[in-house]
């Protein structure tokens, strides 16, 4: 019995067994390599995806646990016309990425946060991003991008 999963608006009947980690289903069965594995203790957040709009760590979910749900990965952020999403645009405009390895996780968390947040303080933004680790940027430009997206202006 294959698992059914919608990923980036495409319905799939997966061949992976239900006890496969979602991140490996995405990367290996579906070829969506934009979601990355950065650690082995589900701490770094590089694997964050949206499951029915909620950011979750794909390395901490078995695909069987998300059966029938709607998963969005970084590949599913841009519009049908190929235009970068507002979150993606803000990241490039504010130089919020360097090596890019952690970026997809931040984009997914930021996308969910910005959809809900109303005029967050900088501290609230930093806490919202505290589950995603970055070694390159020192976080400041990522924080500024999210502040701007949530309607504020970076300091």
């Amino acid at each position: 019995m294959s698992i059914e999963l919608t990923v980036n608006d495409v319905d799939h009947e997966l061949t992976s067994p239900p006890d496969t980690l979602l991140v490996y289903v995405l990367r290996e069965e579906l070829g969506l390599t934009g979601t990355h594995v950065g650690c082995d203790t589900s701490v770094c957040g590089a694997c964050a995806v949206l499951v029915d709009g909620t950011p979750l760590r794909a390395c901490a979910l078995l695909v069987g646990q998300v059966e029938g749900r709607n998963v969005r990965t970084v590949e599913g952020l841009a519009g049908d016309d190929g235009d970068l999403s507002p979150v993606q645009k803000a990241f490039t405009e504010l130089h919020a990425l360097q090596c890019g390895f952690c970026t997809s996780g931040f984009l997914m968390v930021a996308t969910a946060f910005v959809a809900e947040a109303e005029d967050p303080t900088e501290d609230e933004v930093r806490v919202a991003l505290s589950g995603n680790l970055c070694r390159c940027t020192g976080y400041q430009n990522i924080v500024d991008a999210v502040i701007r997206l949530a309607g504020g202006e970076p300091t």
Partner: protein, 777 residues
């Protein structure tokens, strides 16, 4: 308006934002196998056996390699920075010397099959006494990591200038401190990864490798694997951070390549994060017994330090020279001519030491700035004032340091003054005197830095390695349609140099930045370059691109001159195209000139066909950049928690190609320095295990842990055509000292002395408790 100096959005971003980056683990080829390693659980032991027989018969296993069984069939991985080195086979055969040392490898059709087979491996060891403390390792009777050497001492560097004995004996005050700089990990977000694919055409390999220097590694690997360089293609695709930990060759990566050759199958290995902590290289790790001799008015009279650099068990790549830069840079921006600095480099039962962002220089800055801070306190001199008295002034330049470096630029007092101004120094001092009821104490800390960068001129004394390219290369091709492609020998892993180089070339060629294609990382496409490390991208890579661009302009003008039948000296290139001076039309586009250059349809053979130029740039000297940091912290004396309230960095990196990139490099370097100050440590247990071997136990700063960083700049162009200086490492140089000095400042009134980092809450709490007990309170 020029492109150089503009905040151009990066060319690299679009693919990375779309999840279309290609890191090594994103690449798969048919028939690919995946290995797992059998690693020593002991820090020091004789290997009795590594029995892979059952593993070799396990389902899905293509091959099982045992270090002891293969012996010297496996390559010995050389140390780049030494003429001889203790044997370091890709898989160890006789003895293991650090926990995590690879002794066996199972290659299977899937990671799962390899891991299952690994359960059947029987490895047997005779444990030996271990040595972890570098001072103890120097003592008579310590367990020897390499008995054939007769000592754990790898080497020594000792530099003396002036008459330290007299100066120290006669000083008004000598401040003595033992300063420990803890061992840390680069922790790039992308773990190490290698995909080695046999190439039947060459008989060699195509290797996708997450690395910082593909050409240099190709040269070493050819020797190690017994191939010609032409049989080896190394490709650094998108690389998820390096920070110095991916410049080198690793035994396990070599084992993967060897296994691909041996089995004839593609082999891809991606390490786990725990493997990155135990078996990727470690950094920093020095202990200084340091002294500063001062006059009562704050003048620094001399500096002494006897320190150890803990190299770990093996000479890995740069290992034996890693701490050397600390010796030469120990005096920073200060007028200190009387110096006695002695470095002893020591083997211990740990993973090897290798460079990390600011390597050698960050440690020097930390020791120097901590001594100055402590001296100021003991003298009851204001720390800003004390630094101002001793900072080299612009009118003293050029200034030759005790270590024969010549500083030629920068206003160090102005940088410090600006940092103090931006942090609101006087106001913060006033705030400190205000009684705080809730047990939080305010502290202010400062530090200045001088970053030796732009590594490095060929043949320089800091390039003792057999194969270490100091130069950089750029090859620029204009194709028949007029599209410009720049091939650079740099190997970025987040630095954005593709964009920066395009900006330089755009200005020379009057071509839009967006239209320029930049390629790096593939040894098949790019001429021999040096890679990305040591803050050399702008200085060395940028000038190679500039030179190549100028040669392209010369060729374009030659072709245009032939097409216009005008002297080449009359040809103008500007934003509209190429035309004869004084006549804006007729005008030739790049496409028209390129077509003619390739196909000679209009002018016949008036010039050599083709449209490309290569330039190799060898920097005439090392370069310097400089700056000052200031930090304000708040320490909760009940919990020991440290919060950085404000952080200022005033930096002078000369001409900036892309200020966004400069800001980003500073933010990232400062965050790493803060990590060193407050959070990070590779902790070893008494039996040599790295117990902080996962992200979590090894505490990386997250967004709430890094303050808003206020950046300001000064600009002293370097004496190069572009005027650039290095900045990649700048942020990591003084930030640790600024934060630790701030904590010391906050807690000194309570009798606390700070002698080691990181200043985790538990450590600070212990220090507070110790001071309280000493007080009898």
């Amino acid at each position: 308006m020029t492109e150089v100096g503009r905040r151009v959005t990066r060319k690299e971003d679009a693919r990375l934002l779309r999840g279309a980056g290609r890191y090594v683990d994103d690449i798969s080829v048919p028939g690919m196998c995946q290995p797992t390693f059998v690693r020593s659980p002991y820090a020091h032991a004789d290997i009795v056996a590594v029995d892979m027989d059952e593993a070799g018969r396990s389902p899905g296993v293509v091959a099982a390699f045992s270090g002891p069984q293969l012996g010297d069939e496996l390559p010995d991985v050389p140390c780049a920075a030494a003429d001889t080195w203790p044997e370091n086979r890709a898989l160890s055969a006789d003895r293991v010397r650090y926990v995590g040392e690879p002794v066996g490898m199972i290659v299977a059709t899937s990671v799962k099959a390899a891991l299952d087979a690994a359960e059947t491996v029987v490895d047997d060891y005779e444990p030996l006494p271990i040595v972890l403390d570098p001072w103890e390792a120097l003592e008579e009777g310590a367990p020897l990591v390499h008995p054939e050497l007769g000592t754990n001492k790898c080497g020594e560097v000792h530099k003396v200038a002036g008459d330290p004995d007299t100066v120290f004996a006669e000083a008004d005050l000598v401040v003595s401190r033992e300063i420990t700089i803890q061992r840390v990990s680069a922790t790039p977000m992308e773990p190490r990864a290698v995909l080695a694919v046999p190439d039947p055409t060459t008989g060699g390999l195509t290797v996708w490798l997450s690395c910082q220097s593909p050409h240099m590694l190709r040269t070493w690997l050819a020797e190690i694997l017994g191939l010609e360089e032409a049989q080896l293609r190394i490709i650094a695709p998108d690389v998820g951070g390096g920070f110095g930990s991916k410049i080198e060759l690793y035994c396990d990566e070599v084992a993967v390549m060897w296994a691909a050759l041996r089995t004839g199958r593609p082999v891809k290995w991606v390490e786990s994060r725990s493997e990155n902590y135990t078996s990727a290289v470690h950094s920093r790790d020095q202990i200084h017994r340091a002294e500063l001799a001062v006059r009562a008015d704050g003048t620094i009279l001399g500096l002494r330090s006897h320190f150890v650099g803990d190299l770990g068990a093996y000479l890995h790549f740069f290992t034996p020279v890693v701490p050397d830069l600390t010796v030469d840079t120990i005096t920073g921006n200060y007028r200190i001519d009387c110096v006695d600095i002695r470095l002893e480099k020591v083997y211990t039962n740990k993973m090897s030491l290798e460079p990390l962002r600011g390597s050698g220089r960050a440690e020097a800055t930390f020791v120097l700035e901590r001594l100055i801070e402590e001296a100021a306190r003991e003298l009851d001199v204001d720390p800003v004032e004390m630094r101002m008295v001793n900072l080299i002034r612009p009118d003293e330049l050029p200034y030759r340091t005790f270590s024969d470096m010549t500083y030629t630029g920068g206003d160090y007092p102005a940088l410090l003054g600006r940092a103090a101004e931006l942090i609101g120094y006087d106001e913060k001092r006033r705030l400190q005197t205000v009684e705080r009821i809730d047990g939080r104490r305010l502290g202010i800390g400062l530090a200045t830095y001088n970053l030796v960068c732009g590594f490095s001129p060929s043949g320089h004394e800091w390039n003792p390695m057999k194969y270490f390219p100091g130069h950089e290369v750029a090859l620029i091709r204009v194709d028949p349609h007029g599209t410009v492609t720049v091939y650079s020998g740099l190997s970025p892993h987040g630095q954005g140099s593709d964009t920066a180089l395009a900006q330089i070339v755009a200005d020379e060629l009057h071509v839009p930045v967006d239209a320029i294609v930049v390629i790096h990382g593939d040894t098949l496409a790019v001429p021999y370059g040096g890679g990305t490390h040591g803050s050399r991208g702008a200085i060395v890579g940028g000038h190679a691109a500039l030179m190549a661009a100028q040669r392209i302009v010369d060729k374009a003008k030659t072709v245009a001159a032939a097409m216009f039948e005008a002297p080449v000296g009359d040809i103008i290139l500007d934003g509209d195209g190429l035309h004869v001076a004084g006549s804006p039309s007729p005008m030739l586009t790049w496409a028209e000139v390129a077509h003619e250059a390739h196909f000679l349809t209009r002018c016949g053979p008036k010039f050599e066909p083709g449209f490309e130029a290569t330039a190799f740039y060898d920097p005439p000297s090392v370069n310097f950049s400089f700056g000052a940091n200031a930090a304000v912290v708040e320490v909760d004396v009940e919990t020991g928690a440290v919060r950085i309230l404000e952080f200022v960095s005033v930096d002078d990196c000369g001409t900036e190609i892309n200020p966004n990139i400069v800001d980003g490099q500073l933010h990232g370097g400062i965050a790493q320095g803060i990590g060193q100050a407050l959070y990070e440590e590779l902790v070893h247990s008494a039996d040599g295990q790295v117990i902080s071997a996962d992200i979590g136990s090894y505490v990386l700063p997250a967004a709430p842990d890094v303050p808003r960083i206020v950046l300001d700049r000064m600009c002293t162009p370097s004496e190069t055509p572009l005027g650039v200086r290095g900045v990649g490492e700048s942020g990591a140089l003084a930030s640790t000292a600024a934060v630790v000095n701030a904590v010391a400042d906050a807690l000194a009134p309570l009798g606390v002395t700070i002698d080691r980092t990181p200043l985790r809450p538990g450590a600070v709490w212990e220090m507070l408790r110790g001071a309280k007990c000493a007080d009898g309170a």
